[in-house]
Amino acid sequence: MSAVLPRIEPAGLDGWMVRLFAAIDEANMPWLTALVRRCEASFGDALVDLVPSYTTLLVVFDPLAMAPEEARQRLTTLLADLQPDEARDDAEPRELPTWYDPSVGPELERLAERANMSIEQVIEQHSQAEYRVFALGFAPGFAFMGRVDERIACPRLETPRRRVPRGSVAIAERQTSAYPLVSPGGWNLVGRTSAVLFDRHREGFSLLAVGDRVRFVPVSRVEFERLGGDTRSVEANQ
């Protein structure tokens, strides 16, 4: 698949897949968020869903409200003069208060050993970097963020946990995330955030959106508890 990009590909009866880029890159995201906004304005009520992800945007429309060919034509028009969203350097990144501790981040030790670092250095690596949200998926509000420094990147667990506690901060390969709800999961746990990542009663529902910049801010156990965090260990949470 080495044809010219961007490209509009078939995606079922009610969808077109806009493929903008070939590879994962933080620089993709302003283009994707710009296209999301343009689609919202152009499709109006005929729009059903937009699913941006890393390199693509899936556009789902109501084929009874807009003929598929017309939808495709509109996308072609939008792509012709698409400009990336301007970086808002004044906007602060989202901050996720995170308690890094082996009791809630049992893989800290594994990552430290692999990287030949101390646990403190692993924490420093993870919390120093600023990450970008590439996609949401897997579960409501679960944000795939990157890119994690290669030294602390780590493959998923051989056997996924049946129950990952809510708020768990985790690393898989060069991506990081936080689990919005209790769920099964195979990522390496390094800590826990007190941030509420998904709330059905909040406007917008999800704390994070595709394109957001994010930082994990280390907090003490006391501070984590004060912020409403659950200090029970991963084992006690099973």
């Binding site: 698949m1 590909e9 078939p10 995606a11 079922g12 009866l13 009610d14 969808g15 897949m17 493929r19 590879a23 994962i24 999301v36 059903v48 869903d49 937009l50 699913v51 941006p52 992800s53 890393y54 390199t55 693509t56 945007l57 899936l58 789902v60 084929p63 009874l64 003929a67 598929p68 996609a135 949401l136 998926g137 897997f138 579960a139 409501p140 509000g141 679960f142 795939f144 709800l181 998904f198 059905r200 529902f205 999800s206 959106a209 595709v210």
Partner: protein, 313 residues
Amino acid sequence: MSDVKTRFEVRRAGPLALLQDAGRFGVRRLGVTQGGPADPHAWAWANRLVGNAWGATALEVTMGGLELDVARETVIAVCGADLGVTLEGHSLPLWESVRVRAGQRLAFAQPVNGLRAYLAVAGGGFAAEPVLGSTACVPREGVGGLDGLGHKLEEGDCLGAETPTGMPDTGRRAPDDVRPDYATTPRLALLPGAQIAEFEGRSLYQAFNTAWRVDERADRMGVRLRGPQLRCRLGGMVSEGIGLGAVQVPPDGQPIALLNDRQTIGGYPRLGALTPLACGRLAQCLPGQDVHLVATSRERAHNEHRRFRAGFR
């Protein structure tokens, strides 16, 4: 305890009974799945026969095992699978509006023909608080259903209707030609996707000329099909949005048709996407049943969809 709006009390919940409206839309970018009826054809007919508009909340009963006590006189329709449903021990006509009276017991037994039955109630459908714009019940995500928290129906639950009035005619019947025989081997219409040319020629031939067997691993997220091992030149892809009915092929070469509760993004190459009606037909298949995949054109699929939707308001 039942209040005036209560129509049914759940005596036995069975393995899986879920409230479903048309589905949850506009929030897939947040990782929230679509939900909605696995078989939109049978769901839409059940609602129509009791006078409900498109989108009303009906009950999707999988396998059977559900027993309801009627708390108040109302009109219902059961469409879709024949799950051996009885009213006071007598066989209940399917695809037809029927009056039920207080004190009667409605019982779903087990699959006779098909897998999922839809129970619709007059008065705008079952009452439930919408969550993220929909009542569609998705237990994995903890959204929708009676309490909004994604619980499947449980013993002791009380089901009410949206509006206390509304008693349409009984004896409304769906024409015979819209009532599928789910025991036949279905031909599932598939719109070829962008990666289709990346599959090896022999695999493409096999994809559309093989009787695929429905695997035990089949649920509202997806249905695995067993057959020849399909080979694709693409390995993993960068994860991207997945539409309803997408047929993805993981490295083991066995396709998975993704249904209403699928994850919102994924990274396996795809043959294409089943049409919504083909998804519904597949959702009525029991493990061990055979299905065929048939390539269709966008125009043809579009026209079929228009005709289907034209019958429902």
